[in-house]
């Protein structure tokens, strides 16, 4: 298909630049079309919906700034933001630290290392639905493995998923089980560090700790940065696990009503598409501000090995 259009255009004697431009745009055209259809148009539709009331059944009606005003007097939105921010604030740094730690542990060569790599990575490819069912059972107050271990060391039985205090820590713990996905990206980065750097550091008398501090961390900073930004965006949009474990309620008492779950509930349970779109914009702006802060304060400290081409 693409070949025929190329040969057709070349008959009309194009300059090489024009030819290259046409060929280039043919290659990226699926992306451009996708961007327009599934990104730009929905984003505009979302702006439109912000000013409408629409329950999917009767046609949308214009309501002016009602949806936006409602944001400021919505206790559920406040609760939802609190839950989401709390979860993100703990899960992202802990996940990255654990992922980095695991990556360093497995960045060695000895027989059997592949087994450890696979073991650490597998939890992060387990279907979310399976992770949810498994951990709902792990956190069972009476019979779950987590409490069995805690009581074995003399601790109390913690009502993980029934208490408003413990529900978020439970989800943070659960998310750590998936640290393998950041581990694998860190591992990729670690393997790209040339041995010469470490040899040079050794000659200067650096021990393992100094090598980590002065070679590994600076060289890895772009990847740490990349993982941090994507981790923030991902954690802020957690949905599947919490939807499954709490059967879509975000319970107990909305303690785990993460933002995307709230958007889903508003749109598809309460049939309020306009307000759901408005809440989506809140999520958008918070993430933009967060990413902006991260880029502003950390982006500059990132060390680039070779300057951008």
């Amino acid at each position: 298909m693409a070949t025929s259009s190329i040969s057709k255009t070349s008959k009309i004697r194009l300059t090489p630049t024009m030819r290259r431009t046409i060929v280039g745009y043919i290659f990226i055209s699926p992306f451009i079309l996708g961007f327009i259809f599934w990104f730009l148009i929905p984003a505009l539709a979302s702006v439109y919906l912000t000013f409408q009331r629409w329950n999917l059944i009767s046609p949308p009606t214009f309501v002016g700034f009602d949806n936006i005003e409602r944001l400021f007097s919505d206790p559920l939105l406040g609760q939802s933001l609190k839950a989401t921010i709390l979860f993100t604030a703990f899960s992202v740094p802990l996940n990255m630290a654990l992922g980095f730690f695991l990556a360093i542990l497995i960045n060695r060569t000895f027989r059997g290392i592949a087994i450890f790599r696979t073991l650490f990575y597998i939890p992060s490819i387990v279907p979310a639905i399976a992770t949810a069912l498994l951990w709902a059972w792990m956190f069972n107050t009476e019979f779950g493995l987590v409490n069995i271990l805690i009581t074995a060391f003399g601790g109390p039985k913690i009502p993980w998923l029934q208490s408003t205090t413990w529900a978020i820590p439970a989800f943070v713990l659960l998310s750590l089980w998936g640290a393998g996905s950041s581990m694998i990206i860190f591992l990729a980065g670690l393997q790209g560090i040339p041995d010469i750097y470490y040899e040079a550091a050794e000659i200067d008398g650096a021990g393992p700790w100094a090598k980590l501090r002065h070679v590994t961390l600076p060289v890895m900073s772009p990847i740490i940065f990349f993982n941090l930004v994507l981790g923030l965006i991902g954690a802020f949009q957690s949905f599947t696990i919490v939807y499954l474990i709490t059967s879509g309620t975000g319970g107990p008492e909305n303690a785990t009503l993460f933002l995307v779950l709230y958007i889903y509930r508003t749109a598809f349970r309460n049939m309020n598409m306009g307000y759901a779109a408005t809440v989506s914009w809140v999520l958008f702006f918070i993430l933009m501000i967060l990413s902006g802060i991260v880029f502003r304060y950390l982006g500059r400290r990132v060390y680039y090995e070779h300057e951008a081409e």
Binding site: T21, V23, F37, I263
Partner: protein, 301 residues
């Protein structure tokens, strides 16, 4: 093993000044090595324990599952939990529905994202960097803002309650992350290969299809595996767009287990094990490519 390392180090060290200090570092290195070995084993136990608990619980009887102190290995393995769990709902049908979506997604993403990535990685034309900037911007934009308006658009198109909303969009670009990953990989392939083909009269499309694609298998497998996992694990898409039970995917079928109280724990866990197993098997077969794919693309800017 460690003796080999030691002698190899010994022959490499040619600096006379480091003779004294290298002994100290050697001792420190050994402590370090042992500490990390122990950490490795402990972490492996922590990561695997939930799996062990899952499989063991899934094979317990109703009574054993609620016993305290806990039963670690059931007296008799209750494999019938599996057959019972998987017949509560028509999981055969759900599996077929899921595979349809998964296969279409993998084909769409591999073809579409590599096509666009070729344009971004190997061709030079005005506006390329602008559009690549857009690719990167969409990577960092939250998908959540699109949930509601996309639903509105797909309702207008009459696509609700079909697999179209879950498959068709992926034929257009196949996702920013995949384009980015493949572009990084394509850039590592020497330009001389393309030039040689151009001299032989090969079109850009031919270079893409006959030279770049075959050389990029590790990266393509990585993208395919990520796509497979995403589609297999996706719940938000199917619960929004698939309405009639005949179209449900495995994930949707299982999700109702948590909310219906009549499905007991042993059966929930048996079903959980059953959806996890194919993924783990698939991973074992593709991990050689997969890890190489990620390592080679490097994911650096």
């Amino acid at each position: 093993m460690s003796t080999i390392d030691q002698s190899a180090n010994g022959t490499q060290l040619k600096w006379p000044a480091s003779k004294h200090s290298s002994r100290i570092y050697f001792r420190r290195d050994r402590v370090w090595k042992w500490a990390s070995n122990i950490a490795l084993v402990i972490m492996a136990f922590i990561m695997v324990a939930p799996f062990f608990w899952l499989v063991s619980s899934s094979l317990k009887s109703q009574i054993e599952i609620f016993q305290s102190p806990p039963v670690w290995i059931p007296e008799r393995l209750h494999f019938e939990n599996y057959t019972r769990a998987l017949t509560i709902k028509p999981f055969g049908l759900y599996l077929v529905n899921t595979l349809k979506i998964v296969i279409l997604n993998v084909v769409a993403v591999v073809l579409s994202s590599s096509f666009a990535a070729y344009g971004f990685a190997r061709l030079n034309f005005p506006g390329r960097d602008f559009w690549f900037g857009i690719v990167m911007a969409t990577l960092f934009l939250p998908y959540a803002i699109l949930i509601v308006p996309s639903f509105m658009i797909f309702t207008r198109l009459g696509w609700v309650d079909s697999i179209a909303p879950l498959t068709v969009p992926l034929f257009f670009g196949g996702g920013a992350f995949n384009i980015f990953l493949l572009r990084q990989f394509f850039r590592t392939i020497p330009e001389e290969l393309s030039d040689a083909a151009r001299i032989d009269g090969c079109s850009e499309f031919g270079i893409y299809w006959r030279i770049i694609m075959p050389l990029s298998k590790p990266a393509l497998v990585t993208v395919a595996l990520f796509t497979f996992l995403n589609a297999w694990n996706d719940l938000l898409g199917p619960i929004i767009y698939l309405r009639s039970p005949n179209n449900f995917t495995v994930a949707v079928g299982l999700s109702s287990f948590r909310s219906t109280l009549d499905v007991s724990w042993d059966l929930q866990l048996a079903a959980t094990t059953a959806v996890t197993l194919p993924i783990i098997v698939l991973f074992f077969f593709s991990q050689r490519y997969f890890i190489r794919g990620i390592v080679m693309t490097g994911l650096k800017g």
